[in-house]
């Protein structure tokens, strides 16, 4: 079991002929993801890697393949349109890897995706993986192993680091979801926590937040009120100065709000385990699985 993706996921790759899109399409296929089509306007009719048909539009691709999921690797100026195109074509899970999407574009994309009944993950995210079943995005498959810990994070490599440490300690994952580092994203911590709570196979959850915004504080309230499964949290950016964007567009302390300290306090108030260092996840999660 898992959240959002599994063996039945049938995937389109938007931007499949680009540098990143083609590289990661191959990686996903090697992992066993069912990549059923690609989309690059102007390249319809071509075939990717001898097996994957390429279409000019998402509409054509959905019609021909019945895909239920898409992953987007198009450059930032076109990403918002690519997301909306997928939603309008009836795709229900849209994963946008692209970094650098203007936030005002996202104010238009977000309600559009909702109205079409779709879920957007990202943008500016590594995507998600259900170890042993399916991977959508760029999370390296070999650091993951199947198991019963759910992972949700705003970061990429920090997540890999922690998943890697868990895997080495023999702790497998049900699904790992990178929700992205932008101020407006399609799926937040609470969406993922609720899905992990409902997934019978997930026994504990590790969440990695960072400075900026209040998503972690709201997640802590949700955990306290609605979750029966244990959650261990970590916040990156305890040493970040206020008013500076720490790489991610959303990782900024505005005035006195969005600090690591207030998020960690919220975690503690919700009775969660708090990892002071990435390595602490191993011990804290192990203790909660016993």
């Amino acid at each position: 079991m898992s959240i959002f993706i599994d063996k039945d996921t049938t995937l389109l790759v938007q931007g499949i002929t680009g540098r990143d899109g083609s590289f990661h399409a191959k990686q996903m296929m090697e992992y066993g993801t069912r990549v059923v089509g690609g989309v690059t306007p102007g390249k319809g009719g071509q075939v990717f890697e001898g097996t994957v048909p390429i279409f000019d539009t998402v509409h054509q691709a959905v019609h021909a393949t019945g895909a239920n999921t898409t992953v987007i690797y198009v450059p930032p100026p076109f990403a918002a349109d690519a997301i909306m195109e997928a939603a309008a074509a009836g795709i229900k899970l849209i994963v946008c890897i692209t970094e650098g999407v203007p936030v005002l574009d996202m104010t238009r994309v977000y309600p559009f995706v909702k109205e079409h009944g779709a879920r957007l993950i990202g943008p500016n995210c590594p995507g998600l993986i259900t170890p042993g079943a399916s991977k959508v995005g760029i999370i390296p498959g070999r650091i993951c192993t199947p198991g019963n810990v759910g992972i949700v994070s705003r970061s990429g490599t920090l997540t890999y680091e922690i998943v890697h440490q868990l895997t080495r300690a023999g702790i497998g994952q049900s699904s790992c979801v990178g929700i992205g580092g932008d101020p407006i994203n399609g799926t937040n911590f609470i969406d993922c926590l609720a899905a992990f709570e409902a997934d019978p196979h997930t026994k504990a959850v590790a969440m990695m937040g960072e400075i900026g915004g209040t998503d972690e504080q709201e997640a802590a309230t949700f955990i306290k009120e609605h979750m029966t499964k244990p959650v261990v949290g970590f916040i990156a950016g305890q040493t970040a100065p206020p008013g500076r964007r720490m790489g991610h567009a959303g990782a900024i302390i505005s005035g006195s709000s969005g600090t690591a300290a207030e998020k960690i306090d919220a975690f503690k108030a919700a009775g969660m385990g708090v990892a002071s260092r990435p390595v602490d996840f191993v011990e804290l999660i192990s203790a909660r699985l016993r």
């Binding site: 990429g156 490599t157 890697h164 209040t214 970590f234 990435p278």
Partner: protein, 380 residues
């Protein structure tokens, strides 16, 4: 990207917002000439990317053009929060009957552009929000329709019971919203929006922050960047496509990925050290990025030890190892280096480093502890 007040005001003026006349000056002579041209009294205002300019003595009221010259002389070159004042805005001083606050931000919670308006203007809006939240009206804008006339008028009447002023303010709201959208802002504010004794509305101060992700498609806005107001190392890093933020510590950090970079800084602190910077070399494996990263970090005299922390997912650790070897051959290091890498092609990377006289660890905590000890001058 922050705009200077004078730049924000030019954009507001172009959108139709009434802004007092004025221009920017870089010498006292120019300041005097501008004051003579537009007429006194004027305000001479330091143009730096820092709050609290007034408290720092960077904003002065001048009754004569000669006075403007003298005040500009004093303000130009002044240090405000570590930034040197290179420019002053000389602008006609408005008579003030009342001050309001009008701002728009992109709000993460509602996922919309949200107006914030308050009749308690001229001061820090965060303070108003914290102490007297009922004095602020929040109005989210539906991006499909933009700011609707009745919404703008509602905000106008929230500020001014007088219908003429309310209508005037509503018009300014529309103009501000247009400027906000057209410049790709994440924040735009007029503070204060002043009512003069003759019942005219004027935007006496303006502020805009541009979403960095907008700059590629708005070259006219990107051209407003003032590199003289940034740390030279940060300008250098941006040109090399690195995300770099200078801090005060002595452990120079080179990391791939923003989250891991923050976590690495935090771990340096956890083990009793102080990070010298945030630096994300990104997801690609380009050895040139490593070369640039090392050049930027070693130019900081505070750095006593360099710490690499690379998790090879997409990034190939052998590429990073090659980058380290190339960079240190070009510019031999004068401070110790601690390398931690793990993941893709780790074994090859370790071989490359070993063959070139470096040692490396695959354990993050061990590497950070070692870097902290070396930075303190302790044998590790």
């Amino acid at each position: 990207m922050d705009l200077h007040e004078y730049q924000a005001k030019e954009l507001l003026r172009a959108a139709g917002v009434p802004v007092p006349p004025g221009r920017v000056a870089i010498t006292p002579d120019e300041a005097e000439a501008i004051a003579t041209e537009y007429g006194v009294p004027v305000m001479v205002k330091a143009q730096v990317h820092a709050g609290g300019r007034g408290k720092a003595g960077g904003v002065k009221f001048c009754k004569t053009a000669a006075d403007a010259r003298e005040k500009a002389q004093a303000i130009l070159g002044m240090d405000i929060k570590g930034l040197t004042v290179e420019k002053v805005l000389v602008t006609v001083a408005a008579d003030i009957a009342s001050e309001a606050y009008v701002g728009i931000i992109v709000d993460r919670a509602t996922k919309k552009a949200v107006f914030m308006v308050s009749a308690a203007g001229g001061i820090d809006i965060e303070e108003v929000a914290a102490t007297t939240p009922e004095k602020i009206l929040y109005l989210p804008v539906d991006p499909r329709y933009g700011l609707l006339p009745f919404e703008a008028l509602r905000m106008g009447f929230f500020l001014y019971p007088d219908a003429k002023l309310a209508r005037g303010a509503a018009k300014i709201m529309q103009q501000l919203y247009t400027a906000f959208i057209n410049a790709g802002c994440s924040l735009a504010e007029i503070n204060p929006l002043v009512v003069t004794p003759t019942n005219e509305l004027v935007a006496v101060d303006g502020k805009m922050v541009i979403d960095d992700n907008e700059l590629d498609r708005r070259p006219d806005i990107a051209a407003l960047r003032d590199e003289s107001s940034e740390a030279p190392s940060e300008v250098d890093a941006r040109k090399a496509n690195l995300t770099f933020i200078k801090l005060d510590g002595n452990v120079g950090c080179v990391v791939n990925g923003a989250g891991l970079a923050m976590a690495t800084m935090d771990l340096v602190k956890y083990y009793g050290g102080d990070p010298a910077n945030f630096l994300d070399i990104g997801g690609s494996s380009n050895p040139e990025k490593v070369v640039n990263a090392l050049r930027i970090i070693t130019s900081d005299p505070n750095v006593k030890c360099i710490l690499f922390n690379i998790f090879g997912g997409i990034t190939r650790t052998d590429d990073v190892a090659n980058g380290i070897v190339t960079a240190t051959k070009q510019n031999p290091l004068t401070v110790p280096i601690v390398i931690r890498l793990t993941g893709t092609n780790e074994e090859i990377a370790m071989e490359i480093l070993k063959a070139n006289g470096f040692s490396a660890s695959s354990d993050m905590d061990e590497a950070v502890q070692r870097a902290v000890a070396l930075a303190k001058g302790e044998a590790a």
